[in-house]
Amino acid sequence: MAIPDVKQKWSGRVNTVTIGATKAEGGTRGRTVTIGGETGIPFLSFDGETPHPPAIALDVLDKAPLDWPEPLREIYGDVWSDPAAWARRAKELGADLINLRLVSTHPEEGDRSPEEAADTVRAVLEAVDLPLVIWGCDVPAKDQRVMPKVAEAAQGENCLLGACTETEYRTLAAAAQAYRHKLIALAPCDINKQKQVNILISDTGFPLTDLVLYPTTASLGYGMEYVYSILERGRLAALAGDRLMAQPVILDVGYEAWRSKEARIGDEAAAAWGPLHVRGAAWEAVTAADLLQGGADLLILRHIKAVEVVRSLIRDLLAA
């Protein structure tokens, strides 16, 4: 008996979004990164194509983190008080993009001024020629002052700025449009809300094709199934032709994985759980590997081992 052909033809495709700008494009980046463009379910090469493999951004904070566990300190401890040096380290470790978090602008984390934040961005742009993803401190009132300055400082570099929400989108959308950056649209685990945020942003005149979606992230063991199902539903909607869900997706895997007890608790748990230097990175890698199946285009990671595993996994799955 012949095996029936179960290939699925999808009417929609995921948008492509290019981050970064080379000299020719008005920026100073050594290269750009393009994500999205899929025409089928992730890694089912017989269904559709994946023209751009999922990209990896490495985390860089603008101040030394106090709560990063030992395995991460070993990699970044010597550079993490200097964002430029940290960014160079991330490039050496093979990052496609730098994920810069301006945590020190938080009123309780140093309350640095918009001008200082802009200086940090300039320093990182000078230190490495990778495209940038830039986040504020997640305090809307402060981000509304910081992000326009940051967008201005990075003018022409075609960065990816985060994140617009249902309540706070106008300032960031206006800034991104004025200085020609891409935007992250955040709607936690809710496809309807995601579409609504996208419409609100597009009502400001910002093109839907310049958006990257952030449906939030959950790590292995902490509600990942739920996020996974939302990811998958969103991707299926995109493939079915829903233009409001056709944007590529960014996931903050490193941050979530390294918050988990399993990635943090020291070697006192080694007897049952294995040594921390393997465990933390493994937790991050497994979270990333799982979520990739739901449909993710840009992963923010932290540990070099996780980067290696995820890269080879993507390579193998795309080759299969």
């Binding site: 004025a178 609100l200 400001t204």
Partner: protein, 675 residues
């Protein structure tokens, strides 16, 4: 126990209450209406009073500003007197007794002509009819008893079995004959001219009463719509099939809770059910009194009452156990209660008059919906119709002559003024029309009576939201865009968010002015989302889409004031060609009248009840998803609303320069704490 005298202004009512009783209880006992949406739990902030003389004590409340407290404002349900008091009921707390008798409003409630519906003009065959007979005098050859003589004559041209009570049999000999009593002697002389009043009681016809002579030219009935908010009564001439008078008033049960659930909760308290029944019976009595005065028809001539209403209201009226309505699996005590004597529940009309309650479909789809189905005529048509009853509990029916499905959407009281900061019912001083200029700086409103604005009613809220949206003063998620027109906004006293000034205090009959808060907008978006999503689910459940709907009937007390375009703009109603949308007004009372005027129509309602399918949305997995996508202006799926224009875009950035200036403006605006 000491007691205090409370004098209420401006009604000049005085009552004495025991120490420890609240001013709200005093107002209830004095029959002074004070809005209390939450039923006296201190959670709605609507029962505002001003203490003019005397002292009170009570809990502090977040619902009053410092300035208002200084001026003597209190919440009636939260304070008890410490001395004799003079208190004033301010306009925003008053419930005017009658709903705008006079002008357009009375038309709204009186109108019986259902111009736009497919309902056939009823062939007159009322459920209670008067039959004039001339009976042949008994003879030795034919000594048939009086009762059997009458029943035989009545049975001649009908199949329905007849019955007669002992009371009527006792009267009958004296009605059929002239009786002369002289010096202990009784003389009987045959008259034989008799008018029998017969009424449908289930499968039989009952002879309700007999009168000498021919009174068949005068026969009246009362059609009632017992709404959660409003009670409407029509006095119907059963001989001519016309409406002689109409009256409406607020449902006094409002003081026990604004919605069905609040009142069911009250009914669970000791004597709570009696409170509710007494309140509605008293309302009906007040309406009858009003009808008597204006029509010159005595209440004794009312031979039947047909009551439509939601399931809970009819349970309260009949004193049926209402508690199970709100508990899963939502089982009413009775769906088709038998006809009873009106006198049995205390309604003073003809003592033999029958009270019919229209058959109910489910716990949340009541006899008012059965009435609406008949009034719209949707059950007779080949085309598919959708009936939406916009009330506190939004009922929706879909179907045609072959099928009917119904569901209920718990919309909440926003359309009737509940849980809206300046909300009120459609009464004097209520804003019902709002227009806002495209750039948002010019706002014009009109009130139902043309007077100064006290608050805003449901149509006003729908108008306001649509106009705010089109002017770009709210975004699609309903958030105020303060920077579009900063002068129209001010910080809210209820939370730290901005509120939109619809009517400034100086121009309103209310010291706060009339405002729309961010919470009001969110509330209305949830309300409209619930109704639209329920309609969408129902239509989808039978494999249809809105495009298949040939007639959209909108029922409710909104009348013609409701602006279809604005309803579509906010996504309350589906975006259908306007000629498919028909306002049928109060279809509940209209259906009650149709049932009263034709016993076949009444019987048809029972058949409709039998064949309708009730769709429980709470177990429909699609509903929540549909609801969330409907909580947006007009909808997350904009393609469902092609006729709705994009809002005036203050947010759009046509070029980079404008965008740059906007970015800095926004930053400046946010720094100033404007939003």
């Amino acid at each position: 126990m000491s007691s205090f005298r409370i004098h209420f202004l401006p009604d000049d009512q005085e009552i004495s209450i025991n120490a420890g009783q609240t001013l709200l209880e005093a107002a209830r006992r004095a029959n002074v209406y004070v809005g209390a949406i939450c039923g006296g739990e201190g959670t709605c902030g609507k029962c505002r009073l001003i203490v003019r003389e005397g002292e009170v004590e009570g809990e502090s409340t977040e619902f009053l500003t410092r300035e208002e407290i200084r001026r003597g404002y209190v919440l009636a349900c939260q304070v008890v007197p410490r001395s004799d008091l003079v208190v004033e009921v301010p306009p925003e707390s008053r419930l005017s007794g009658y709903v705008g008798i006079g002008g357009e409003d009375s038309e709204r409630f009186r109108d019986f002509t259902l111009r736009e519906t497919a309902a056939p003009a009823p062939h007159l065959d009322p459920v209670v009819k008067k039959v004039f007979l001339t009976l042949v005098e008994p003879t030795l050859d034919d000594p048939t008893a009086d009762q059997e003589r009458l029943l035989g004559a009545l049975a001649r041209d009908r199949q329905t079995p007849l019955q007669m009570g002992l009371k009527v049999s006792r009267q009958l000999p004296c009605v059929l004959r002239k009786v002369v009593r002289e010096r202990g002697r009784v003389q009987w002389s045959w008259n034989g001219r008799v008018t029998a009043t017969v009424g449908v009681r289930g499968p039989v016809l009952e002879v309700l009463s007999v009168e000498p002579g021919n009174t068949s030219g005068r026969n009246f009935g009362l059609a009632l719509d017992i709404g959660t908010t409003t009670v409407v009564a029509h006095l119907v001439d059963l001989v001519r099939g016309t409406t002689r008078e109409a009256a409406a008033k607020y449902n006094s049960q409002l003081t026990f809770g604004a919605d069905v659930i609040g009142r069911i909760n009250h009914a669970r308290q000791p004597h709570g059910g009696e409170d509710l029944q007494r309140a509605i019976v008293k309302d009906i009595d007040t309406l009858i009194q009003d009808l008597e005065q204006r029509s010159q028809i005595g209440r004794g001539e009312i031979q039947c009452i047909v009551a439509a209403g939601n399931t809970a209201m009819l349970h309260f009226l009949l004193g049926l156990e209402p508690d199970l309505i709100r508990l899963s699996p939502f089982t009413p005590a009775a769906a088709c209660p038998p006809p009873v004597r009106a006198a049995e529940i205390g309604i003073r009309v003809n003592p033999r008059a029958i009270l019919y309650t229209l058959p109910m479909i489910g716990s949340f789809v009541g006899g008012d919906v059965t009435a609406g189905i008949v009034a719209s005529g949707m059950y007779l048509a080949d085309e598919v119709s959708l009936l939406i009853d916009l009330g506190t509990n939004g009922e929706i029916v879909l179907g045609n002559r072959d099928f009917l499905v119904a569901c209920a959407a718990s919309a909440g009281p926003a359309f009737e003024g509940g849980s809206v900061a300046c909300g009120m019912r459609a009464a004097c001083g209520a804003i019902d029309t709002v227009r806002i200029s495209p750039n948002g700086d010019r706002v014009s409103v009109s009130t139902i009576d043309g007077g100064r604005a006290v608050g805003i009613c449901g149509t006003g809220m729908i108008d306001a939201l649509a106009q705010l949206f089109l002017a770009g003063l709210v975004d699609r998620s309903g958030r105020f865009q303060v920077d579009r027109c900063p002068s129209r906004f001010r910080p809210s006293s209820e939370d730290d968010r901005p509120e939109f000034i619809l009517v400034p205090p100086a121009e309103a009959a209310n010291p706060r002015g009339v405002v729309i808060t961010q919470a009001d907008v969110e509330n209305l978006i949830r309300t409209k989302g619930a109704i639209y999503a329920a309609a969408a689910c129902l239509v989808n459940s039978v494999g249809l889409s809105f495009a298949d709907i040939q007639h959209l009937y909108i029922a409710g007390a909104f009348g013609n004031k409701l602006d279809v375009a604005n309803c579509v703009t906010i996504g309350l109603l589906p975006d259908l060609p306007r000629d498919r949308v028909h306002f049928i007004g109060n279809s509940s009372v209209a259906g009650a009248k149709l049932a009263m005027l034709n016993e076949q129509t009444m019987a048809e309602m029972y058949r409709i009840r039998e064949r309708i399918t009730y769709e429980e949305l709470m177990v429909n997995p699609r509903y929540m998803d549909d609801f969330l996508s409907a909580c947006f202006l007009p909808h997350t799926d904009l393609s469902q609303f092609p006729s709705v224009p994009d809002p005036a875009s203050g947010a759009a950035c046509p070029d980079v320069a404008a965008a740059k200036s906007m970015a800095s403006d926004h930053a400046a605006c946010k720094r100033g704490g404007a939003s």
